[in-house]
């Protein structure tokens, strides 16, 4: 009897989970296929002649994320200017092991360069080293590998110094709540390197700068909730914050998935809590326009992709060695490599009701 129950249970589980997977596959399969293989016309500068015909893989943490589509847009613009042919390839789940399978593909297909946003700062390192050994020039952009593994790539193109991304978000939420009250954080995955660095900078900054503000639960650790960059889970965690800490004044979501989920849920539930964080203007526009959200910020992923492709091409052609102090020019701006083999773009850019109309059209 018991045994029969188990067996039918097993059957039901196997069938439903497989069906669910199939359906999920169909659902995401309807989105547009993401690879671009256009040969672009040649141009005039000296670099361009040398990079003619270079094949570059542009690899996001995961495809199907609006932020990375904008990142790829910038990369494709640089590819066009440089006469390189760029393919947008990557996994649909943002994990290192999933990304490794695509790095293997890049090695297997003999690309000249790889521009990658590291989904895991450790797990992809051996694969990147193997790619480098195969002669592929590697530039990380948007998210870097672990500092100890910096030698696995030529250079990393990052938005702003990490501390400032964290502290700027604290400033935004402080402004909205009148520098008073308790704040929670709705982050991505617990292992997301970017978010963890920013959050670490937020902790002491809030305590030192805003004496009337605090973290919910009394400490930074108790204030961080993980939505795993998954819309449903982020909504659940948003609600968990509200039910655990009903007096929460503000929520910082340093991830585009989290801040969108928080905005949607805030509007749906009509709750009174300030929400800010890092958001894509195109996704956040409705909520900024209707007043749900006062301000979100982001760097410009278009620039990140654009600059990274320049670094990769110049590096591949031997015109830029990625050493600390070395510099390179992408478009009209010159970037210098600082400690850690990193080139920073600048300060986070904020979107409010005043400028959202313009930027929502861009990315």
């Amino acid at each position: 009897m018991n045994n029969r129950l188990i067996k039918s249970g097993i059957k039901a589980f196997a069938l439903t989970s497989v069906l669910a997977l199939g359906i999920a596959g169909c659902a995401s399969g309807t989105t547009e296929s993401a690879s671009t293989e256009e040969e672009t016309p040649a141009a005039e500068e000296t670099t361009e002649a040398a990079s003619e015909g270079l094949r570059i893989a542009i690899m996001p943490k995961a495809i199907n994320i609006g932020y990375f589509a904008a990142w790829d847009e910038g990369a494709q613009a640089a590819c066009e200017e440089l006469g390189a042919s760029c393919d947008y390839i990557g996994p649909n789940e943002a994990t290192g092991p999933a990304q490794v399978q695509f790095i293997n593909q890049v090695i297997q297909e003999g690309y000249d360069a790889l521009v990658i946003s590291a989904a895991d700062q450790n797990a992809i390192v051996p694969a990147l080293e193997e790619a480098a050994a195969a002669g592929i020039t590697i530039v990380t952009s948007d998210a870097d590998v672990a500092a100890e593994s910096a030698s696995a790539r030529l250079v990393s193109i990052l938005p702003s110094a990490a501390d400032r991304i964290g502290t700027a978000e604290v400033d935004w939420v402080a402004e909205e709540v009148g520098e008073e009250g308790s704040v929670a954080i709705l982050s991505a995955a617990a292992t997301a390197a970017n978010q963890n660095v920013w959050i670490a900078a937020m902790g002491p900054y809030l305590e030192a700068t805003y004496p009337n503000m605090s973290w919910v639960g009394g400490s930074l650790d108790s204030a961080v909730f993980y939505g795993d960059d998954d819309a449903t889970k982020s909504v659940e965690q948003f609600n968990a914050i509200l039910s655990q800490y009903p007096d929460v004044a503000g929520i910082i979501a340093p991830t585009t998935v989290g801040v969108l989920a928080a905005a949607q849920e805030k509007k749906a539930k009509g709750v009174d809590v300030a929400v800010t964080g890092l958001g894509l203007p195109s996704e956040m526009a409705p909520y900024i326009e209707d007043g749900t959200i006062a301000k979100v910020g982001l760097w410009n992923p278009i620039d990140l992709g654009y600059v990274a492709v320049y670094a990769a091409v110049l590096g591949h052609n031997g015109e830029f060695d990625g050493a600390v102090g070395a510099s390179f020019t992408a478009g009209e701006t010159t970037y210098e490599v600082v400690e850690g083999g990193i080139a920073y773009l600048g300060d986070p850019f904020t979107f409010t009701i005043d400028n959202i109309a313009t930027f929502k059209e861009i990315y």
């Binding site: 018991n2 045994n3 129950l5 188990i6 067996k7 249970g9 097993i10 059957k11 589980f13 196997a14 069938l15 989970s17 497989v18 069906l19 997977l21 199939g22 999920a24 596959g25 169909c26 995401s28 399969g29 989105t31 296929s33 690879s35 495809i63 199907n64 390839i89 990557g90 996994p91 649909n92 994990t95 290192g96 092991p97 999933a98 490794v100 399978q101 695509f102 293997n104 593909q105 090695i107 297997q108 297909e109 003999g110 895991d120 700062q121 450790n122 797990a123 992809i124 390192v125 051996p126 694969a127 080293e129 193997e130 672990a146 100890e148 593994s149 995955a189 617990a190 292992t191 963890n196």
Partner: protein, 333 residues
């Protein structure tokens, strides 16, 4: 009966050969040793766990916690290493943790008589939670260079990853035990009819306990391979692996109802999935289309063996239905 089950396995092997031929035709960079090495590396963890899962499903049980066990073994290894133990000791610790996970599942199923489906759904969450408790949100990296080179490097003079040796040895042992020992025959007998097996003197509970322990240990081995391959231990690794492992096991001809299956059928199935994925990827399919195809394959993998099984068991199945009907009728009266 055995003739038909044999042909399903042969079908899977044929499927693998066709998949390789098809990959060679559609993708330029498919048929070479470096790609074979990538495929091998990608499927080794699945294959190692599938070996044990084969026994378990044949015996009529299942373990859904294997991916969490894999990751807990990995996390434990990383944790012990971070706490200052030599890496070799930490790896042994990771294996023991895997074994302990399996024993705990086995204890709940055999001693407390709980259904393995329910038990291992619970421990799937429990073991994952323990990974997070051990490591916090700090992955462990900076493993010794020697072991990283084992994890990612190749056997000198060949294109084969080191983990392939582990897989070959374990597969040979699993094949021998399942198909050539009394323990293997017990496993089948329990899956066909646990009551009858018990009355014919087979130590049913002890055998099941051993199978759960073995599955935990194999998940631990896969956890070590995984740790070395990605040169790190993180709390959120290997999420969702159990689905692929179970699907590959079923695709390989193991009956979800128990009592039927072969090691080599399962290995052929695991490799088929790896080969198809690689061929699709190299012929330009995006991750989205890959998900669709793997979803479809998994669906086939569950439906197809059940269809053949249904055909094979038409008579006994009909008899069973009759019995049920009779019982129900009796109940109604």
């Amino acid at each position: 009966m055995s003739r038909l089950s044999f042909s399903w396995d042969k079908g899977v092997a044929l499927f693998l050969v066709l998949a390789v031929m098809w990959g060679t035709l559609v993708a330029d960079n498919f048929a070479n040793t470096s790609n074979l090495a990538f495929v091998l590396r990608d499927v080794t963890e699945f294959a190692i766990i599938a070996l044990a899962m084969t026994f378990l499903i044949i015996s009529g049980e299942i373990d859904l916690s294997v991916a969490s066990t894999l990751n807990l073994a990995s996390a434990s290894t990383g944790f012990l290493f971070r706490e200052g133990l030599p890496f070799e000791v930490a790896m042994v610790g990771g294996l023991l943790v895997g074994l302990a996970c399996g024993l705990f599942n086995g204890f709940l199923v055999t001693k407390l008589g709980l259904p393995s489906l329910a038990v291992t759904i619970a421990t799937l969450a429990l073991y994952r939670g323990l990974s997070f408790a051990l490591l916090g949100n700090q992955p462990v990296n900076q493993l010794p260079d020697f072991w990283i080179s084992i994890g990612y490097g190749k056997i000198p003079g060949t294109f084969l990853p080191w983990s392939t040796i582990v897989l070959v040895i374990l597969a040979a042992i699993a094949w021998f035990i399942l198909h050539h020992t009394r323990f293997g025959r017990w496993t089948f007998a329990i899956g066909v009819n646990a009551e009858a097996a018990k009355f014919s003197g087979i130590p049913v509970q002890r055998t099941k306990m051993t199978l759960f322990a073995m599955t935990g240990l194999m998940s631990g081995v896969a956890g070590i391979v995984y740790t070395l391959r990605f040169a790190s231990a993180s709390p959120d690794g290997a999420v969702g692996f159990e689905l692929s492992i179970i699907a590959a096991t079923l695709f390989g001809g193991v009956s979800i109802a128990g009592g039927v299956g072969t090691i080599w059928g399962v290995l052929a199935a695991v490799f088929s999935l790896g080969v198809i994925r690689s061929a699709l990827q190299l012929s330009g399919f995006s991750a989205n289309s890959l998900l669709m195809v793997s979803g479809g394959l998994l669906l086939i993998s569950v439906i197809a063996p059940r269809v053949t099984e249904a055909l094979r068991n038409r008579k006994p199945a009909a008899a069973k239905t009759n019995t049920k009907k009779t019982l129900r009728e009796v109940g109604n009266e």
